[in-house]
């Protein structure tokens, strides 16, 4: 693919430098700086991480149960939801469970195979930041060209969607 290796993140309508580092499971955890850890490492090293004075994030792979960190949100600044292939839709459920069931209010970012045609769906599921390497997707985002249908037939528990039309389940962006 014609991908660029980017260490930025798309959030609030633009690409910003990303202050986060993704650590491998055998990398030491630095005292400072924002770092993402795997879910298994996060759970294994909880005792130490609870005392850490810098932002810690958790990468939730497709197939991992995000409910396993539900009691530790005080120590989780961000969650990265992995989309190993854009056709693997498990991350959508992960994101909605995080936002709507568990009430997580930190950043949820999509990582992996993040493409332009899925971004609107990801947003509705509560994802608010996107790590994008696919070049045409980056170009489209930069041009503000996000294809979407903003008439929703189902409530998805987001504060920025409001009821509309005659039926109680219809929503549109606020």
């Amino acid at each position: 693919m014609t991908d660029t290796q980017a260490n930025d993140i798309y959030r609030d309508g633009r690409f910003l430098a990303d202050g986060w580092t993704y650590l491998a499971d055998d990398d030491p955890v630095p005292a400072d700086g924002a770092v993402f850890l795997s879910l298994s490492r996060f759970l294994a090293d909880l005792a130490v991480l609870r005392g850490r004075n810098a932002p810690t994030g958790v990468v939730v792979e497709a197939g991992e149960d995000v409910r396993s960190i539900a009691d530790e949100f005080a120590h989780v600044a961000a969650v990265a939801v992995a989309f190993p292939k854009f056709t693997d839709g498990r991350g959508y459920s992960t994101a909605r469970i995080l936002r709507e069931d568990l009430g997580f209010d930190g950043e949820i970012r999509a990582v992996g195979d993040v493409l332009i045609d899925q971004i609107a769906l990801m947003r509705r599921c509560g994802i608010d930041a996107f790590a994008v390497s696919h070049a045409p997707t980056r170009a489209a985002l930069e041009a503000g060209h996000v294809p979407r249908v903003d008439h929703y037939y189902q409530p998805a528990g987001r504060a920025d969607e409001v009821p509309t039309g005659t039926r109680p389940w219809l929503r549109r962006p606020a």
Binding site: D88, G89, H151, W169
Partner: protein, 551 residues
């Protein structure tokens, strides 16, 4: 029937704009075929053997004459003058150009139709009893619920990239004409002891290479929980359904491997978290949706004097009416099957001229209403008995008056090797040959109710597993071979047919079917014992012996 309001129309228009943009990017090369594929599939565009195919949604099989005329127009303008009605109550066009698809979608939107989610690993068209709203045995019309499911599932943000496709079917009658037990979710409307409406919910039925009958997951689901419970099932499936092997990715495998009791626990736990939230259906809103599907103003004093006289005087008419006319909940009326199974024809095909003729008939005699049945026929739901002879005359003129509903020539067949890139063998020519062989009207009638279903490969789009006689095309050493299964059924006594023995070559399979039928005729207890009943009584043995000899 359901009518779009402004919201629905804007939704479809936006979706067309979005898809048109995707087609443009594909044609420009910004999207490669891998990236385009799931997008076009979300919108019903398949790549077949020879061309793209566009599958248009007919929600729960209900349409009006204006929509039918539009389908005829599309067949004539963008295709080769015909369309093919499918086992999912949809219609597909086999020869559109990709660059024409945006224009076709715009034309469809003018009559409140679309191709959204007619393919892809998402929630597909919800199918329903084709006699919904008319059948004399129904508890409630299933279509308002199917419409609510349609809305909820349209571009659902969480369930657009499921492990595999997902199909709902719903029936409002205890006699199941919608094959609910071979769907991912099957719903049957029931009344609780207190008199409240709700659903029996089945999950994990399906065909394909691992045919499984659905399991009952809930005895009684209150009406207000229809969507919350569906969302719970879909969430469990989206998270835990297998993604390592596309042949094991349907929810039936998850049910089978996890066990229905454990899975029910997961579903109920998810349901508990959301059941009292925004997905709860307000009863007054359900009642309001129901008004779209209200019975047209039928005259309860309608008589049948003319019908009786015509039946007595015209044996061809009487014979047609005996098979193709079904009881209606309002006296003096009936529902009519318009057979798309002419003797020797392609099951489910209709020409543009035939679609227009059917539209005219529906407008004049059936309150403008039409249905597509999952058996690939068309239905006029509300016809006065005393108009039936006029309907019959009009059908004769359009070459649509075959009186074979439910008989051996009323065959379901998948497109097979004539169109489908996955096929092992031809289905349509086999269906045509069987139809010719048994086409004699007296012979068919003497055989009685018998459903033959034919698939060109193990994906089972032709529902062979649930055919009383099923035929499956397989490939062996480069040759097309056909396997016979017996005893399948897709009604409230759903069963998967059993393979009877080794397969037959293409030039022998119709003889084999004839052997099975002749064997049945010899052993049936009386003229009223159907093939299925007889098979269930005697089992495989006599058929095996007739087909393969005793050795």
């Amino acid at each position: 029937m359901y009518r779009y309001d402004e919201f629905d129309q804007e939704f479809v228009d936006q979706r067309i704009a979005q898809f048109s943009d995707q087609v443009r990017r594909r044609l420009k090369g910004e999207l490669n075929e891998d990236q385009f594929k799931p997008l076009r599939l979300m919108n019903g565009v398949y790549l077949q053997l020879h061309a793209y195919m566009l599958r248009v949604c007919v929600p729960y099989g209900t349409l009006n004459s204006r929509q039918m005329r539009k389908l005829a127009h599309i067949a004539r303008t963008y295709d080769r003058g015909y369309g093919h009605f499918t086992t999912r109550q949809n219609i597909q066009f086999n020869w559109p150009k990709l660059s024409d698809v945006p224009a076709i979608l715009k034309e469809l939107a003018e009559v409140e139709m679309h191709a959204i989610q007619t393919s892809g690993n998402c929630i597909r068209n919800t199918t329903a009893d084709h006699l919904a709203g008319a059948a004399d045995d129904e508890i409630a019309d299933p279509r308002p619920y199917a419409e609510i499911i349609r809305q909820w599932s349209s571009l659902h943000p969480e369930f657009t990239f499921l492990p595999r496709k997902f199909k709902f079917a719903i029936t409002g009658a205890p006699h199941d004409r919608a094959a609910i037990q071979v769907h991912d979710i099957g719903m049957q409307i029931v009344r609780s002891e207190a008199g409240d409406l709700g659903f029996k919910v089945y999950v994990g039925g399906g065909q394909g290479r691992t045919p499984l009958v659905a399991k009952l997951v809930r005895d009684f689901l209150p009406e207000e929980d229809l969507i919350a419970y569906s969302e719970a099932i879909l969430r469990v499936y989206n998270r835990y359904g297998r993604r390592d092997n596309k042949y094991k990715a349907r929810i039936k495998i998850l049910v089978h491997e996890t066990g229905i009791d454990e899975l029910r626990g997961d579903i109920e736990a998810e349901f508990e978290k959301i059941r009292h939230g925004v997905l709860q259906l307000p009863a007054d809103e359900v009642r309001r949706i129901e008004t779209y599907f209200a019975l047209p103003p039928l005259d309860p004093a309608a008589t049948s004097a003319r019908f009786d006289a015509k039946s007595a005087g015209n044996p061809a008419f009487a014979a047609w009416a005996e098979r193709n006319v079904h009881p209606h909940k309002v006296t003096g009326h009936a529902s009519v099957t318009i057979s798309l199974k002419p003797i020797g024809g392609v099951p489910g095909d209709a020409s543009a001229e035939q679609m227009e003729a059917v539209a005219d008939i529906a407008e004049t005699f059936s309150f403008d209403e039409l249905r597509v049945s999952h058996e690939q026929n068309l239905i006029l739901p509300h016809v006065r008995l005393d108009d039936l002879d006029k309907v019959h005359d009009a059908l004769v003129a359009a070459d649509l008056a075959e009186g074979n509903a439910g008989l051996i020539t009323d065959i379901i067949a998948c497109p097979g090797l004539d169109y489908c890139a996955l096929a092992n063998a031809r289905s349509i020519p086999i269906a045509q040959e069987i139809s010719e062989r048994f086409g004699n009207a007296e012979r068919q009638r003497a055989i009685g109710d018998l459903k033959i279903k034919i698939s060109g490969c193990i994906n089972a789009c032709g529902h062979h597993h649930v055919g009383h006689i099923g035929i499956l095309g397989v490939e062996k050493k480069g040759e097309e071979l056909y396997q016979l299964t017996l005893g399948g059924s897709a009604d409230e006594t759903t069963s998967i047919g059993a393979i009877i023995g080794r397969g037959f070559a293409g030039d022998r399979i119709v003889d084999a079917v004839e052997t099975v039928v002749e064997t049945y005729l010899k052993l049936r207890a009386n003229d009223n014992e159907t093939f299925l009943a007889a098979y269930r009584r005697v089992g495989d043995a006599p058929f095996k012996e007739a087909l393969y000899g005793t050795a």
